[in-house]
Amino acid sequence: MSRHVFRDIRGTLQPFWVTLRNLFRKPVTVQYPEQKQQLPERYRARLILTRDPDGGERCVACHLCSAACPVDCISMQATEAADGRRYAAWFRINFTRCIFCGLCTEACPTKAIQVTADFELAGRDPLKLVYEKVDLLVDHCGNDNSYNFYHQTGIGVTAPRGENPQETKPMDVKDLMP
């Protein structure tokens, strides 16, 4: 016990010095509404639905994002256009429940749903935080300006197999030739 007496005394006195020094240092607080912090580029906050480079909606209403969402806050109704292209009749994200985990963006095959750094969502009316498709849809491509899902896949399977652009011919599995 006596071995530690000096260590204990030092341990008791040291904090007084540390706190006294801190008293005269500049606080690290960012005074929020007046000063804003420089957020990191990949900050995850409000979600958006982006468009492809041609200006069409990217989302194909595949429900993958809503399946991935741990708090089940994405809901949508899938429907089909005349040319067979799927899209969401309505698309709704309840931001009162969203935890901004970004799992939906990882699940999305079309890069339609993406995160932005806009975290200032607070409001007095929770119903205003239920965002509909009009609120979510934006006029740009988000973080990927080139990717266009439909150029890869086509709408529906109209072209024969191996006829789509960039698609290789199907392999004949019974043939040994390369």
Binding site: T19, L20, L23, P27, V28, T29, Q31
Partner: protein, 331 residues
């Protein structure tokens, strides 16, 4: 008759003055504590309400007043309602005997600068402060909640372990001043404050009043991170506010007593006595805040050990030594 009337009016005036000053100080101590703690942790502390957050106490009061006054279903109603009052009132009552300046002459009478100059001021302080624990204990018991009850039990055992040393640490002071009156004690320190004459007693007293004020490192009865809020877990609104304000009034009172017993009261060069008194009280309060920023909370058994095995023997020895020295000096 006119004489009695005069005395009564005078006492009332002094009461009102002290009441106002102490409440004001308590309110702004809360703010000061939050700001200083903030700066020590590299934060700003409250700075939104008014310039530099100076109106924060007002905002807090409004918030507390407009909150729901909640009464737990199985609580013992009237004890629950009365308990916060006990804490606040006992803290204020102690202040009645604290002399904050030398006697003054008004209309050809000498008037002590305290509400009453009791001849047994020290004992009065000990008596009233030992009553303060009832607020904590009864409040916690009446809430009928296990966290509150645990807080009360801790408050009780804490009080039992430090109250004795608190009294004993004052014995050397009384021996040196040869009086129980706080006024005489201050007068005895005209040249040298007792802090220098008897630092051991001062140190023991400091630790004991830290425990008395239920603050870190002895805030066992509250212990936010173990017992939710301890004895005031179930309190809300202005009743919680009373507990809270009582604690800070207590801080002011204990700071004044520290000043009176060990720091030489209002004595000091150049400045007027009352100013010296205020400066010293604020310094003690500042020390308390500083300690809060630095030390962790003691455990229950550590506190009991400290009280019974360290402070008590030390203060007893100190009495012996002081007595011997006084005898030796032939005082």
């Amino acid at each position: 008759m006119a004489d009695t009337l005069f005395t009564v009016v005078l006492i009332l005036a002094k009461l009102a003055l002290i009441f106002g000053v102490v409440l004001f100080m308590a309110a702004y101590l809360v703010l000061a504590e939050r700001k200083i703690l903030g700066r020590m942790q590299l934060r700003y502390g409250p700075n939104r309400v008014g310039p530099f957050g100076l109106m924060q106490p007002l905002a807090d009061v409004i918030k507390l007043l407009t909150k729901e006054d909640f009464l737990p279903a199985r609580a013992d109603k009237w004890l629950f309602l009365v308990a916060p009052g006990i804490t606040a009132v006992t803290a204020l009552l102690v202040f009645a005997v604290v002399p904050f300046g030398p006697t003054i002459e008004v209309f050809g009478r000498t008037i002590p600068a305290a509400v009453v100059d009791l001849n047994v001021g020290v004992l009065y302080f000990l008596g009233v402060s030992s009553m303060a624990v009832y607020g904590v204990v009864l409040g916690g018991w009446a809430s009928c909640s296990k966290y509150s009850l645990l807080g009360s039990v801790r408050g009780l055992s804490q009080m039992v372990s430090y109250e004795l040393s608190l009294g004993l640490s004052l014995v050397p002071v009384i021996m040196m001043a040869r009086s129980f009156s706080l006024h005489d004690i201050v007068m005895a320190q005209a040249s040298v404050p007792f802090l220098l004459l008897n630092p051991v007693a001062c140190f023991v007293f400091l630790i004991c009043i830290l425990a008395e004020s239920n603050r870190i490192p002895f805030d066992l009865p509250e212990a936010e991170n173990e017992l939710v809020g301890g004895f005031h877990t179930e309190y809300s609104g202005m009743r919680f506010g009373l507990f809270f304000v009582g604690e800070y009034i207590n801080l002011v009172v204990l700071g004044s007593l520290m000043t009176v017993f060990f720091l030489g009261g209002w004595h000091g060069p150049w400045l007027p006595p009352v100013v010296w008194f205020l400066i010293k009280v604020l310094m003690v309060c500042g020390l308390f805040i500083w300690i809060r920023a630095c030390l962790p909370r003691l455990r229950y058994d550590q506190l009991m050990n400290l009280g019974w095995k360290v402070l008590l023997p030390v203060s007893l020895l100190n009495i012996l030594v002081t007595g011997a020295v006084l005898l030796g000096l032939g005082l």
